[in-house]
Symmetry: C2
Subunit: 319 residues, 2 copies
DNA sequence: CTGTTAGCGCATTCAA
DNA sequence: TTGAATGCGCTAACAG
């Protein structure tokens, strides 16, 4: 038995001389890398950034190193990254796919790497995590109806994504549920981007059919939509009232009248990491799990009757 | 000579069978990894996220894989990550240090990895990139003065960071330059966080010395400061007018009267990557380079006299 | 130009 | 319990 104090001294000495074991060689020998890849369409989008932060925290705690890749909503860059990650012999993958799928689905299946999809996904044979998109629209529409607004428009996301489809479906169902009429002139389709939301809203305005209330299909769509309304000098909440899906940043500062249906993004990221770690460490044979997270409604100033913004409600969530 | 078409066919066949060369083994053999680490204090901060995006784009193009690490402004987590990156045998490092330095400076020097510091840094023997912080405050103060506001407050950053020090110094110099008096009751020190800015502003308000104009030392400080003003029901721009440093997100939507001094964050990230690649590939013996980027002034609604927000000015920069 | 071999730094195995 | 040998998958060097 070596003396503990001596051991510690030697370790310290070795360490201070700048030695550290080579993780590359270890990975080669052990055939496992403690490496996880996370691929997201845009790290600047606060929703994705929060998912990444949640996942990263768990993976770091569990001793994994994380390679974060920003596909820039480009399916070719995404595929290229998947290839790179595969060559790096990652042990697991958390993927938020870009809108266009490209070659990724094929690669994911042939790579045979444990994978968890978040928000958007294309393959039910993998673990996946999403928000209850249908319910989000029930929340938003019912909020409008309760406040007396029944003339409701929608800037939808792209229907070739899961949240795009489900939110559009959810919007239609919610209108039906409240006996409201579906008016196509008050629906536009965009691509979950700021520009997309902006142009869709401009188009609706210029089409002459401004609804009394409108919903943005995701955070960026809502930003674009608000920008169009401001540019056209349309009064909020006087002429139109706005709700959106997904947190932005400092939402209370952006527009005190803005109501939002919010997914617990960091929780979803954490859960994705936990599911992934279970796969990596444990039985890969378990059947895929689909986890659905609930949205929370955060109401803007008007819906709160006259409570002050910045008071004890969840609008301070970023704190 | 092998027939090109045959070669291609073989490659395709091999590739389709799921084979891809093992980057881990290659790294071990070649003793170079095409791996770069980026360590930032908070990937949710749009300034840091933009730096990362800029750097990542260049590194990706040049064939490097990027490991992005979020130190959460925690010097212990930062050091732990530096250790991990070192063990992973990264070829280069881009570092935005956390506020407290902890063990990182020592590690950086003993690791002997090509390193580029961005925004904050502690060692002039490495390449570094920053904004012209002094000039930022000249821009902001002179803008206020031109608009007739001479009673100017400042929520400073921490003086143990480079931008914190330089911006505070810059503020003092700018006041001097315009013959204005330095009033300590209108200066508070915070930590570049939303909470910090919020509490600092609250403290100033409750101290009874509200200036007619105020500057936030960085993007988060400005958010916190705005939140405090709103919560206290203080009218912007009636009672106080606000300027800040660094872009937020959708700044025009947050407050149309908000003026900002903005660093070209993505450019700075790109340049960091280019400097790093030059070091990694080339002569390590070159003396360290310090690059200083200029701020751009983006004026809020009032300063623009009556031009509409959303018009052809740089407030649409996020587009 | 093609084919063979040695070794990168570890972890595992087997021998002592 | 401790020490020496083997090989992970690749590439660079070398020999044919």
């Amino acid at each position: 038995m070596i003396n503990q104090k001596t051991l510690k001294k030697v370790q310290d000495a070795v360490h201070s001389m700048g030695y550290a074991p080579d993780a590359t060689a270890r990975a080669l020998r052990r055939q496992t890398n403690d490496l996880v890849g996370i691929v997201v369409p845009d790290i600047l989008n606060p929703f994705f950034a929060r998912v990444v932060k949640g996942a990263e925290a768990v993976l770091y705690r569990e001793g994994f190193t994380v390679i974060i890749c920003d596909s820039e909503e480009d399916s070719r860059k995404e595929s290229a990254y998947l290839r790179v990650l595969y060559e790096r012999r990652i042990d697991g993958l958390i993927l938020i796919p870009s809108i266009e799928q490209g070659q990724s689905p094929g690669m994911i299946t042939t790579m045979r790497i444990p994978t968890v999809f978040v928000d958007r996904y294309f393959d039910s044979s993998f673990d996946s995590i999403k928000g209850n998109n249908y319910h989000a629209l029930t929340l938003l529409v019912s909020d409008f109806v309760q406040r007396g607004y029944t003339d409701i428009g929608f800037i939808s996301g792209p229907l070739n994504t899961l949240p795009g489809r489900e939110r559009y479906e959810g919007f239609k169902r919610a209108l039906l549920q409240y006996g409201l009429e579906l008016d196509d002139s008050k629906i536009r389709f965009a691509d979950f981007s700021i520009e997309g939301g902006y142009h869709a809203m401009l188009d609706m305005i210029e089409g002459g059919s401004l609804p009394r209330a409108i919903i943005g299909a995701n955070n960026f769509t809502t930003v674009g939509l608000l920008r169009a309304l401001r540019q056209k000098g349309i009064d909020i909440p006087g002429q139109i009232i706005v709700s959106g899906i997904d947190e932005l940043f400092y939402d209370d500062l952006i527009d005190p009248y803005l109501s939002l249906a919010i997914q617990p993004a960091a929780d979803m990221g954490r859960t994705a990491a936990e599911l992934l770690i279970a796969r990596v460490r444990g039985a890969t044979s378990d059947r895929p799990r689909e986890m659905v997270f609930e949205f929370t409604m955060v109401r803007g100033r008007e819906a709160n009757s006259f409570s002050a913004v910045g008071s004890e409600n969840s609008r301070n969530a970023t704190f």
